[in-house]
């Protein structure tokens, strides 16, 4: 198709060709084309087939109001090709077709509409129950939109930005640009969002006069130039607003250009005030076959010519209800389109100059006439026009029907922001009654159409937005209001929804193949509220997000039910414009904490797992039972990186009081050079943390917590002392200090080689605490602990020195075959010793007594109430609680999985941890069971997922399983 190359309004660059592939052919378009306009230029008229009836669908709008032009592009289904910019090399396919879009073998379903009345799915898809699993699959295969492979990986780069603005303007037409300019005058930060790839809105392609000197398109480009040159206005083009939330949080997404670093990016704007100037879209005219290829909206036909240089047809009939329709007819006639008739719904109220101009060109305008039917199969061949009362009909041959009942404001952003909308009889629009705080509307969406009125309305909205944030005084608002009031106000709108037709093939919603007949059926069944009819008939629930039926549905329902109350619009929800989940995901950086030894451990073959916020080395070989790691600790010496432990300094005159409040033990008797192990409970007596406390000086303590609780510890202390006014402070040193556990019978020999301090059992006994330096440089806090049941030194080292200390220990331990061990080995070692890990041996309901840690609880603490003590006193005499017990499997070759249930006729407990113990040769573990089952010797039935009733059996045994006297850790 030849393009109109010389138009000053063009948005394509005819010097830059771009190719696409469709139906095996390579087609040419131009830079600036959308996929749909490029296909249209190459003769494509049927773009897709409809959801249910496989009706041919063509280019109807250019802003994605319906799914008519949804196609598969580069493997991505449901791409709205009418507003997707063409990129060189794109591969395009029709979707939901058997055969091709032009010849679809499933097209016969169009004759079966009588079988699928409103609510078809609800009424039929449940009986007889037996056939529906089969029938449903067949229906799903026959109907629907695009399909995507489960393995499809989204290509491209997805990004996100977070903006703060004083004024955010949604809509980059004339009103939005005027609002931006007005707001920017005061120097505030302005963000302007425009869904098209360029500013200008509906003025961008119109050649009507703005004033005597310039046409509208020239004025819009002049405004765009001004807006884009002002530093405090940030313009985001090709950016669709998708959500509005509390406190004027606006969300949007931007489609990247070829040279942008992103394919799409998600945008969040926190704005003090918001102006919505999204203009209007057209309200579809409903008649028989109103979605036939060759039927299109006024702006679609006009923009095809003016923006893309494509005359949309050869001979066009217009059926319109507004002056923009007449304006388009006039302009397209001048560009070479034959127009045998213009049918105008209105009897009066026209712009006389437009009527006069059409008359000069001998284009007849039929007032009070409307299109009743589009004829033709895959394209329009003729049109039936009728008077509004349906008494006179006339058939006109043509290849294009330009149809539009009226306009409807794009008020989705206002509805998302919870504005109350009401029907306005003068304009026929749904207009906001109460705008949300600091939100304003302006431009054509308020009903005005006169160019100066549109600009003044936009400027007023911008000034109101400034006044709302105290950046301008009320006098300025009054001036702007007066200026706007002097200009022409809102135009009277056309109210007609449907031509006088029965409605069997008159589609109110293209996406869901919902006809006027379906709406009547729903109403006849008792549905009288548009929201319910929408759900029952699916009208407006498709990818177009109600763009086609959004306005017509409530108008039609109101008319058909002869409702005395005003029509109410249906609700819209975010995302207002559909986009990819990948866009919402954004860059999605994985934010994990790593210990100072992470890189080293990785080089050493560490296999990492995400544990809470940390990445930790769980294994050091592919033997996930960790036999060698475990036995090396038992027999030799191993090193574990425990840097994730929570570490805190607590100090101040009331630090001890806080410790007494939070810990169950008496913390006043911590001896110098000794550690104190204790636990913290919540108010229910349930254990939430355990660790050690060291007294470093008067009113100054160092404490550790479990890794998972470290992030909450300071808040936990503050919360439980919030009413006391105690003077104490906490510093989180978790990341400040790394921790190395040197464990095993040779641990002392290794440590002795790198420190000058006396680390003999006499000088540094079990539960001791020492501070010393390595090479007179590295300060170390050392503790004698026995979590894994062996002689162990826990070295707390400044993080930056961790690698150096680890290297020194490795060198020192080489003669003893020192090895890394990971979390899983530690897990088994401590289990053999009967030591618990909170979260593994406990859950939310597990209290201190259940775990056998009652010995930690000091009941005589007088000065401070202990968190959880009241509940523990009550729980002491409760026989119905779970108890932590040791278990040994009857089959020593098979340990149950962690979390397996202990059952008889009901659940009686669960396995906390169980492993094959390489140390003892037995399959042992710990389980939380009802107290009646906790006696030694009790036989336990263990049920695992998918065990097919083949249960495992264990008996309760005493703990620990290894070194019950604790000699090894005290050696």
């Amino acid at each position: 198709m030849n393009r109109l190359h010389e138009l000053p309004t063009l948005r394509i660059d005819t010097q830059k060709t771009q190719s696409l592939k469709y139906r095996g052919k390579s087609l040419q378009g131009f830079a600036g084309d959308t996929v749909a306009t490029a296909l249209y230029a190459n003769g494509t008229r049927v773009f897709a087939r409809s959801l249910k009836y496989h009706r041919p669908r063509g280019l109807y709008s250019l802003d994605g109001e319906s799914s008519n032009t949804c196609m598969e592009v580069d493997g991505v289904p449901n791409v709205r090709t009418e507003n997707t910019l063409l990129k060189d090399g794109m591969v395009v396919k029709a979707q939901n077709v058997k055969g091709s879009a032009d010849f679809d073998l499933m097209a016969f379903t169009d004759k079966l509409d009588w079988m699928m009345p409103a609510g078809f799915y609800y009424k039929t898809m449940h009986k007889p129950a037996a056939i529906w699993p089969v029938a449903m699959k067949a229906i799903r295969k026959a109907a629907g939109v695009g399909t995507i492979s489960a393995n499809y990986e989204v290509k491209g780069r997805y990004d996100e930005i977070f903006l703060t603005a004083d004024v955010c303007i949604i809509g980059g037409g004339a009103a939005g640009m005027m609002a931006a300019l007005a707001a920017a005058e005061s120097g505030v930060r302005v963000v302007l969002l425009e869904s098209r790839p360029y500013l200008g809105g509906c003025w961008d392609y119109r050649v009507n006069e703005y004033n005597q000197n310039k046409p509208l398109f020239a004025r819009s480009r002049e405004l765009a130039g001004q807006v884009e040159s002002i530093p405090n206005i940030r313009v985001f083009k090709h950016t669709s607003m998708v959500g509005a939330y509390n406190n004027n949080l606006i969300t949007a997404f931007q489609v990247g250009k070829n040279d942008d670093a992103f394919t799409e990016r998600y945008i969040e704007i926190r704005s003090k005030s918001v102006v919505v100037a999204t203009g209007c879209i057209e309200r579809p005219l409903i008649f028989e076959n109103n979605e036939r290829p060759g039927v299109m909206q006024v702006a679609c036909a006009h923009r095809l010519a003016r923006s893309y240089g494509l005359l949309p047809g050869k001979e066009a009939v217009f059926s319109v209800g507004h002056d923009l329709g007449l304006e388009a007819a006039l302009d397209l006639f001048d560009l070479g389109l034959k127009i045998p008739y213009v049918a105008d719904i209105r009897e009066d109220g026209h712009d006389d100059s437009l009527l006069e101009a059409l008359a000069q060109r001998k284009v007849p305008v039929l007032k009070g006439w409307v299109a009743a039917k589009a004829h033709g199969c895959n394209k329009v061949t003729r049109v039936t026009l009728t008077t509004l009362d349906g008494t006179i009909r006339r058939q006109i041959p043509c290849d294009l029907l330009v149809a539009s009942a009226g306009h409807t404001p794009v008020n989705g952003p206002l509805i998302l922001a919870q504005a109350k909308m009401a029907y306005d009889n003068h304009t026929g629009y749904f207009l906001p009654q109460d705008l949300p705080e600091n939100m304003f509307s302006g431009g054509r969406m308020t009903g005005c159409n006169h160019p100066q009125s549109v600009e003044a309305s936009g400027r007023l909205a911008g000034i109101k937005a400034l006044a709302a944030i105290d950046m301008i005084n009320d006098a300025a608002v009054s001036v702007a209001k007066k200026a706007a009031a002097l200009l022409p106000g809102a135009d009277r709108g056309c109210k007609l929804v449907t031509a006088p037709v029965k409605g069997r093939k008159s589609f109110i919603c293209f996406d869901e193949d919902t006809t006027i007949k379906n709406i009547k059926q729903a109403i006849d069944m008792g549905f009288d509220v548009p929201e319910l009819i929408k759900r029952f008939t699916s009208a407006g629930t498709g990818p177009g997000q109600g763009g086609i039926p959004g306005h017509n549905l409530p108008l039609y329902v109101s008319k058909y039910t002869a409702s005395v109350s005003k029509p109410m619009p249906t609700t819209v929800r975010p995302p207002l414009v559909p986009t990819l989940l990948a866009t919402y995901a954004g860059a999605h950086h994985h934010m994990f904490k790593r210990t100072p030894l992470h890189a080293f451990q990785k080089r050493e073959g560490g296999i990492f797992r995400n544990i809470g916020v940390w990445q930790r080395a769980r294994y050091f070989s592919q033997d996930f039972q960790c036999k060698n790691e475990i036995l090396n600790v038992r027999n030799n010496v191993g090193m574990l990186d425990s840097s994730t432990l929570g570490k805190f300094r607590i100090f101040g005159p009331d630090a001890l009081k806080a410790l007494q409040r939070l810990y169950v033990s008496d913390m006043s008797n911590i001896k110098k050079g000794r550690i104190k192990y204790s636990a913290m409970c919540n108010d229910d007596g349930c254990v939430i943390d355990d660790g050690i406390v060291v007294k470093q000086s008067d009113n100054d303590y160092y404490l550790t917590t479990s890794s998972g609780r470290a992030g909450n510890t300071v808040e936990w202390f503050r919360f439980h002392t919030r009413f006391d006014g105690w003077k104490y402070h906490m510093v989180n040193l978790t990341d400040s200090m790394g921790v190395i556990n040197v464990s095993g019978p040779n641990a002392r020999k290794v440590l002795k080689k790198i420190v000058n301090a006396d680390v003999s059992n006499k000088a540094f006994s079990f539960a001791g605490y020492r501070e010393f330096t390595i090479k007179n440089t590295i300060p170390v806090r050392a503790m004698r602990l026995g979590f894994v049941g062996e002689l162990s030194f826990e070295l707390h080292v400044p993080s930056s020195y961790m690698q150096s200390v680890w290297d020194m220990l490795m060198s020192a331990g080489a003669e003893f075959n020192i090895q890394n061990f990971g979390l899983e080995a530690q897990n088994v070692l401590r289990m053999e010793k009967g030591h618990i890990i909170l979260g593994q041996e406990s859950e939310q309901r597990t209290n201190l007594l259940d775990l056998g840690l009652g010995f930690l609880w000091d009941r005589k603490k007088a000065k401070a109430k202990t968190v959880g003590a009241v509940a523990l006193r009550q729980a002491e005499n409760d026989p119905g609680r779970f108890k932590l017990v040791g278990i040994r499997m009857e089959d020593d070759t098979r340990a149950p999985r962690d979390g397996a249930l202990i059952v008889d006729t009901r659940v009686r407990g669960y396995v906390a941890t169980a492993r094959k113990s390489f140390t003892t040769g037995e399959a042992v573990g710990m389980a939380l069971v009802e107290s009646q089952l906790s006696k030694p010797g009790s036989r336990l039935d263990i049920y695992e997922d998918e065990c097919n009733e083949n249960r495992l059996y264990a008996r309760v045994v005493s703990m620990p399983f290894y070194d019950p006297e604790g000699k090894r850790m005290k050696m």
């Binding site: 703060t164 930060r189 670093a261 934010m591 940390w614 100090f651 993080s799 020195y801 690698q803 060198s811």
Partner: protein, 216 residues
């Protein structure tokens, strides 16, 4: 036996042009091909202290009065004092000389607790807005000022030292040391389109000097 060295939690892929050893830290002064900016500089070796006291207004660590309002900062003698809340301030030493912890009980050395980075130069705030919803360019605030909140979903302390209308300027940030790898990866990835590159301490020193000259 292995020698003693302190390791920063940050490693850049760039090749080092010039470095020096300071208090066992290997401090990179310049990298090859640092480019025209924006730049990301690792300052993790610089001394940071945490100061807590119920009478914090009466304290003047190293002779600098703690600013009275949370969110405000004092920058003097290469010390940046950031008032965090009613009882707490963060003190960052931006110079290259060793600092002795003041003899105040409420003062804790937290140099090792956090990763310390700075992002500055042209388009610095275009990079930042890809990472955080915090308003680093709040026109109501005078530099230097402190923000406490998420950057890349990680709790951070951020001090804006310079902000200009053309999105240039810069800020310092600290977050838990363990996040260093993830944070650096996220920041560099976000800054790729703007030419963000790692730079050495010299580049940072020049910028800080410029900022100080402008504010004096």
């Amino acid at each position: 036996m292995t020698g003693i060295q302190r390791y920063s939690p940050v490693t850049f892929d760039s090749s080092v042009k010039k470095s020096e050893t300071r208090d066992n830290w290997k401090v990179v002064l310049t990298y090859h091909e640092e480019g025209p900016g924006p730049w990301l500089v690792d300052l993790s070796h610089k001394t940071r202290w945490d100061l807590q006291d119920s009478q914090i207004d009466d304290l003047s660590p190293n002779g600098i009065t703690v600013p009275s309002d949370p969110g405000t900062c004092a920058f003097k003698k290469e010390l940046l004092v950031n008032r965090m809340n009613r009882t707490q301030a963060a003190i960052w030493h931006l110079g290259d000389k060793e600092m002795i912890l003041p003899d105040i009980q409420g003062c804790t050395d937290v140099t090792e607790a956090t990763v310390f980075l700075t992002l500055f130069g042209s388009d610095a705030f275009l990079v930042a807005e890809k990472l955080t919803a915090l308003d680093l360019r709040d026109p109501a605030r005078t530099t230097p000022f402190l923000l406490q909140g998420p950057l890349c979903h990680v709790p951070c302390q951020i001090v804006v030292l310079e902000k200009n209308t053309d999105m240039s300027g810069g800020f310092l940030l600290t977050c838990s040391r363990g996040y260093a790898d993830s944070m650096v990866h996220a920041v560099l990835d976000s800054g790729q389109e703007f030419g963000l590159r790692p730079a050495g301490e010299t580049q940072f020193g020049n910028w800080v000097q410029t900022v100080q000259d402008q504010t004096m």
